[in-house]
Symmetry: C2
Subunit: 429 residues, 2 copies
């Protein structure tokens, strides 16, 4: 069988034809009791339409690929893709839901790229949506746990904070990382999120701390003695342990939100904008559930997906100017920066401590605020990462713009504990 | 915007490169309390492996596209695609779940075709699975109802028998079809299913009737006086009304099952078999939920999907030698034979009455037994239709082989009440 070698060669050569990103939009992320999933996606689509420099007639859209983890369990709504297509006025266009847990819309993006490369479509809408807050928190945790293995892991009592706590514990044990490294990731991502009006938490952790102090003072309660954010984050009452060593501020929130991207065949990009962003690399890989892995301090599917994407793009990790990575928990960001080759194994935590990954550092990670601060409506997160890269690569990210006119960005989107990982690389046109 | 005209031209020209089907397999359909979804898919995969004439090294498989409606709700298992890939030993290949309700695996097939056409992969496994019988029947009905519109239709009390009963009532009213036409579809499909050892019901309705008579006799109960199947089907106690005019034997059953297909780039087909089946046409369209349609006696998405598939294949409905159509209810088969252009609008019921669609008639429909008799594990049904076409086009369908060495077959797979329809056309190599 020669197929593997052949496929590798082909991936290096790239897809049948090039694909450009010519529009992107997202809803505000947060908790919106009055909005259904379809309303959130409509909000994202409206921002997308406004983002297309030369305008978009929705009639031009030939297909929808929609990432969604479980509208079934969250909203009691199956068959979500055509429902949303119809809500947007896209009927009778083909509408397909893609599900790979929290990587659903990263994988939907990949399907859109593939569909255009195949020659079937020229103009494809991709995106993702999740409406999570209609359920009580403990029920949301149960729904998310179905992303583990329902035969082997869930009956053992694992939930997602537990999975990532196991990874964090293994990482700390192996590399001697201090808990402060995790906290630094949260502090940084909240600092970025404070600059993002779409973020669920657009407050720094210092601001959150000061708000709590002001509230205690106004209520005449005794003032906690937090000298700085680190003391605040070490306080069990302010930042309770969820699954040791992960505390509340190590976890991304439960969110409602949607994000949408407009993809077109490369040769038609200029009909939509003079400043397209090209999708030059795409990689996807799978893995068994966490209990079957040989190591916990790295996600193999992420390394393989990155390898495929770098090979297709013909660039390496050092050339990437900024990245949106899947920080569902703070430990996940540290591991991601190693899996993507930004830092050697065991060095990611040092980079976080030294501020190398902050907006003004040499390798900005999650300028949007990441899943931690921007929010994590699971099926939308992969597409929302790309909305940020679209803005950053076009110099439209406002107060959180990465300096130096970045030309290459990367998105890293993980499903479950790494049963799926999908990586895309983008180049300013 | 020139995109629509362009896309049409392209569809007529076909995809970037050709795709061949070189293997196919399915599990037995039925109720299997001891098997999880992954076990069912493994069973289908084992039959697929045995079907590849020159053998299949699973290492050659580069990606999995898995159709599944709701392992979330049926099994409490999200993120099903990589779980199943791992169960088959395909880790770390990319694994993607496709969901479009009961059209999930027809759409997964389309994604596999597109992925090969794009140049990214040469060898792709597609298929579908559903494990439905772990839940009690009334809960299954609720889960299926989420394929309607959760904001507008479900709160109004609609379930799927109700949706299709509305379509049946409209059809009868408009065209004056007798209830016997519906019964004839069920009788025919059970006759076909009786010849299919994989079918959930491999008994004719006459055999079922005779079994009931024998049982009544053995128990010393008074014998019902059914002269033939039609009398049996008109008896409220033997064949109760589910949602008028649909009775029990008008409805496909609740099933567990899986089906798998091996797709390869056309130029590599001969590595796997000297008798490939080529996928020469693919079409997909969407629609709004039933309450928003302008008519109920036809499914617009089916007509559009068929139009796209015929244009790509360069053939018309009269050239199709046999078809597997989505008979989730008997009325759905009658409407399908009109939407696909086999019979004019309002004439499908006459064709059913006259036996034109039986195995030995001029236009055999559902030689496998269809969803009605073979069973309807919803996410697997679209792929299972193609398993039947694979066998029929290669002359391997045994006692239910369509005569005359058929060269062209069609699969018609519907999601919901037609919010999705996907049509594929196959040619013997």
């Amino acid at each position: 069988m020669k197929s593997r070698a052949k496929a590798k060669t082909k991936a290096r050569r790239g897809l049948g034809r090039g694909v450009a990103l010519v529009g992107a939009g997202m809803s505000k992320f947060g908790s919106f009791p009055e909005k259904a999933g379809r309303d959130l996606f409509f909000e994202a689509f409206q921002e997308l339409r406004a983002s297309v420099d030369k305008g978009l007639d929705p009639e031009a859209i030939e297909a929808l690929y929609l990432g969604n983890y479980s509208s079934d369990l969250f909203e009691g709504q199956g068959h979500t893709a055509p429902i949303i297509a119809d809500w947007l006025g896209l009927t009778p266009r083909s509408a397909t839901r893609i599900e790979d847990a929290c990587a659903s819309s990263g994988v939907a993006l990949r399907q859109g790229v593939i569909a255009i490369a195949s020659g079937l479509y020229d103009v494809v809408l991709v995106g993702g949506v999740e409406k999570m807050t209609a359920l009580p928190t403990e029920r949301v945790t149960d729904v998310l746990a179905t992303g583990g293995d329902a035969l082997f892991e869930i009956p053992a009592g694992f939930t997602f904070p537990g999975f990532y706590a196991a990874m964090a514990t293994a990482y700390i044990h192996r590399y001697g990382a201090p808990l402060e490294a995790l906290m630094r990731v949260g502090i940084k991502n909240h600092e970025h999120g404070a600059l993002n009006e779409k973020a669920q938490f657009n407050l720094t952790i210092r601001q959150i701390m000061e708000n709590k102090l002001a509230k205690a003072k106004a209520q005449g309660r005794p003032l906690p003695s937090w000298a700085d954010e680190l003391e605040f984050l070490r306080d069990d009452s302010a930042n309770p342990v969820i699954a040791w060593p992960l505390r509340l501020f190590d976890c991304s929130p439960i969110s409602d939100g949607a994000a949408a991207l407009l993809l077109v065949a490369e040769e038609r990009a200029k009909e939509f904008t003079d400043e397209p962003v090209y999708i030059i690399g795409s990689g996807q890989a799978s893995d068994g559930a966490l209990h079957s892995r040989s190591e916990l301090t790295s996600i193999r599917a992420a390394k393989l997906a990155a390898q495929e994407a770098y090979a297709m793009a013909g660039v390496g990790p050092q050339e990437i100017k900024l990245a949106e990575v899947h920080d569902c928990f703070t430990i996940a960001e540290i591991i991601a920066t190693e899996d993507l080759g930004f830092f050697p194994p065991g060095e990611g935590w040092k980079a976080a401590m030294e501020g190398l990954t902050s907006l003004r550092g040499p390798k900005p990670i999650n300028p949007s605020g990441g899943l931690k601060a921007k929010g994590h409506p699971v099926g939308a997160s992969g597409a929302a990462q790309v909305v940020e890269l679209w803005k950053q690569l076009r110099g439209q990210a406002g107060p959180r713009q990465v300096r130096g006119e970045p030309d290459l960005g990367l998105a890293h989107n993980v499903g479950g504990t790494g049963q799926t990982c999908v990586v895309h690389i983008f180049r300013r046109g």
